[in-house]
Subunit: 271 residues, 2 copies
């Protein structure tokens, strides 16, 4: 059976080289699909292109406007290619409107000097952490399994009125739901599966959306394969909220304490 | 007298809307200008455009190939504009070759909820830290004043042969040289003034270059103005080196312990 992520990101190549697809209700957020779905779409466009040099090492997605339910197109351009790296620009379009842009760097990766300066945070194993029951009305939350260790968003609770600020940090076990073997399309989307930090910092919901997101893929091919369907340990945090924007950082950790991906995003909020 | 950064980033608009300029020896690295100069060029193209909505909040630069000495052109495109945010794509070209691409998000920023979750690291003041004397042959190092507090690169020393790894962390006071009041063009460049972490991790030089860099600008207009020509506290670190790439994070701190900018980059290295 084809996984919902693969159905939702299926792309058809047209005679003009453009790719076309259709949004999926499984990844719907408030006013459109959640950003991780858009990142995954743009990643898939590059991953399935026969001109691709090697695995992706970096992806930046700029969220320009809401993706409406229905058909969309993706254009792909190789900005520059070499033996070591290859630079792509992908654009997600509906009619004449640019919904999102993405730059993706692919690379020829071989074994080199290797060192990890940071250790995976010590946390209880996934089987010791109950799976969160997502609130109704936000289908994308049902397409992932969230096991919050620290900093669970207070969905369904009214905004706090005591003026106290929560912690911006979250730690959780995270995986596709239903389970799906990890690949770069899934990892691109998992990188955006952290509820916006403002929600747990202030409590309650407010108008907000991610404006730009950058993810670096560290995992080797062997590590990606070894991960399989096992949950990733996700860590998210923020440093500064000011003048309509806040930053948000994330780490995704895999088997044997390997840092599989890390990244940052900047989030617009209204007031 | 016009500052060297302003001379080096001067752009002339042509009749076709393209901007043209010429490289400066003051920001030369090994095989071309250092990446921060390229970031500053692309930032300046947007900053001086009369269509700009407001200050930049995010910039991603993809370094596609070396910028050769001499003339270059920049193309600018607004991907999408709204009341709150405006998305730009800038391209740096020499002939038909794309040297770099940059997405820049500008915004309409007003006073909102504000909170900083992290405190500036406690370090000696700039006047208590001697200014580093840069080695000859890398002119860009002379266009900045570096006062290393921790993790100075071991320029001029032979590669370590004891097999011990250095720390990836650096803390330093950093400013333009000669001094120059802070603006977004300068901040865009200062964000890339950290010597690549691999150098101090392993000792010695090796073939390496930044492939993609993302910077978020947190500082308010008032904070930018208040900073003036005072040095910024810069912090850089890395998490993982593997399969030809390593990540690198940076923070730039200003007066009163404000986080002015933060970001990440991914670096290719040969072996």
């Amino acid at each position: 059976m084809t996984h919902r992520l693969d159905m939702a990101t299926a792309l058809q190549a047209g005679p003009d080289g453009r790719l076309s697809g259709t949004t999926s209700d499984h990844y719907w957020n408030f006013a459109g699909p959640f950003g991780g779905y858009i990142a995954a779409l743009l990643m898939r466009a590059v991953m399935q292109d026969e001109r691709r040099l090697g695995p992706p090492v970096a992806q930046t997605v700029n969220f320009c406007g809401a993706l409406s339910k229905g058909a969309f197109e993706i254009t792909l351009q190789i900005d520059r290619g070499g033996k070591a790296t290859q630079h792509w620009t992908a654009r997600l379009l509906q009619g004449d409107a640019t919904v999102a842009t993405s730059t993706i760097v692919c690379a020829n990766r071989r074994e080199t000097f290797a060192h990890q300066t940071v250790a995976m945070p010590q946390v209880p194993p996934p089987e010791a952490v109950p799976q969160s029951v997502p609130p109704p009305g936000l289908p994308w939350l049902g397409s992932y399994a969230f096991r919050f260790i620290e900093g669970a968003p207070e969905f369904g609770k009214p905004p706090r009125t005591d003026g106290k600020l929560g912690s911006a940090r979250t730690a959780l076990w995270l995986s596709d739901n239903p389970a799906r073997p990890l690949d770069y399309v899934a990892l691109s989307s998992l990188a955006d599966c952290f509820v916006l930090r403002l929600v747990q910092m202030r409590g309650g919901l407010a108008p907000m959306s991610t404006v730009s997101m950058t993810t670096y893929f560290h995992a080797t091919d062997a590590e990606m394969e070894a991960q399989g369907t096992a949950p990733l340990l996700g860590i998210a945090d923020s440093k500064r909220f000011v003048a309509n924007f806040h930053d948000q950082s994330m780490e995704l950790w895999g088997r044997d304490g390997r840092l599989m991906a890390s990244g940052i995003q900047t989030v617009w909020f209204k007031e």
